[in-house]
């Protein structure tokens, strides 16, 4: 009696897991508003909680270490990227900006003698003198970058590209 060989085409016993597919806009907005909230909305509870604590720890350490929210300075092109990175933290950027810059400003006046620019530069120089200022900035920028990745990850999960 000949043995029946397994079907080479259909070898998997279980069907592939069903992927989630919802509108990606809301999870992305939620992820921007609060780190991890987009994942919580998508049913990834463990990940959402972990991301919330990790990103907020980086943000808190950044502020506590003397880090400063970036201001757009037209003479320094990289300041655009750094400010965009800060903005990726959503409402937490407002907290960081108030705590470090002292006001909700995003741009340095281009005129060197402008009184507002002088005041802001004076405030920033105070922060730079902080012994752990560089560490603080690194933590703050890393928190923003992590939240950008979280927004993109929430998009991928919502679009069904990732489990």
């Amino acid at each position: 009696m000949a043995e029946t060989s397994p079907d080479p085409v259909n070898t998997s016993a279980a069907p592939p897991p069903e992927r989630l597919s919802v509108s990606p806009v809301l999870p992305c907005v939620l992820a921007w508003l609060t780190p991890g909230l987009g994942h919580l909305y998508l049913g990834k509870r463990g990940r959402g909680i972990a991301f919330f604590f990790v990103v907020l720890s980086a943000f808190g350490l950044g502020l506590a270490s003397g880090g400063t929210a970036s201001l757009i300075d037209p003479q320094q092109p990289l300041s655009y990227l750094a400010t965009f990175d800060n903005l990726a933290l959503g409402p937490f950027d407002l907290v960081g900006r108030l705590a470090s810059v002292g006001s909700l400003e995003y741009r340095l006046p281009p005129d060197e003698g402008h009184p507002r620019r002088v005041a802001l530069m004076s405030r920033l120089r105070e922060r730079v003198r902080h012994p752990t200022y560089e560490y603080g900035n690194t933590f703050l920028l890393t928190a923003g970058l992590m939240n950008i990745l979280l927004i993109l990850d929430a998009f991928d999960i919502a679009a069904g590209r990732k489990d």
């Binding site: 991301f51 990790v54 720890s57 980086a58 350490l61 560490y135 690194t138 990850d153 489990d163």
Partner: protein, 60 residues
Amino acid sequence: MIRSHFLNLLMFSALVAIFFAFLTQNRPKDRVRVILVLGGAMVVLSLIVAYVMYPFPRQQ
């Protein structure tokens, strides 16, 4: 505020490793492996680079 360079390095490595472990892995065992490998690599490589740079004088 942490003033120690090494403690800052440890904190930074731990946070980044935990973040990428949860971002890229689904199973707890795989996450622990990523945390150990990625976090450990960041700390060890930083110490090696710091050691290699140590003989170089600071520019006056």
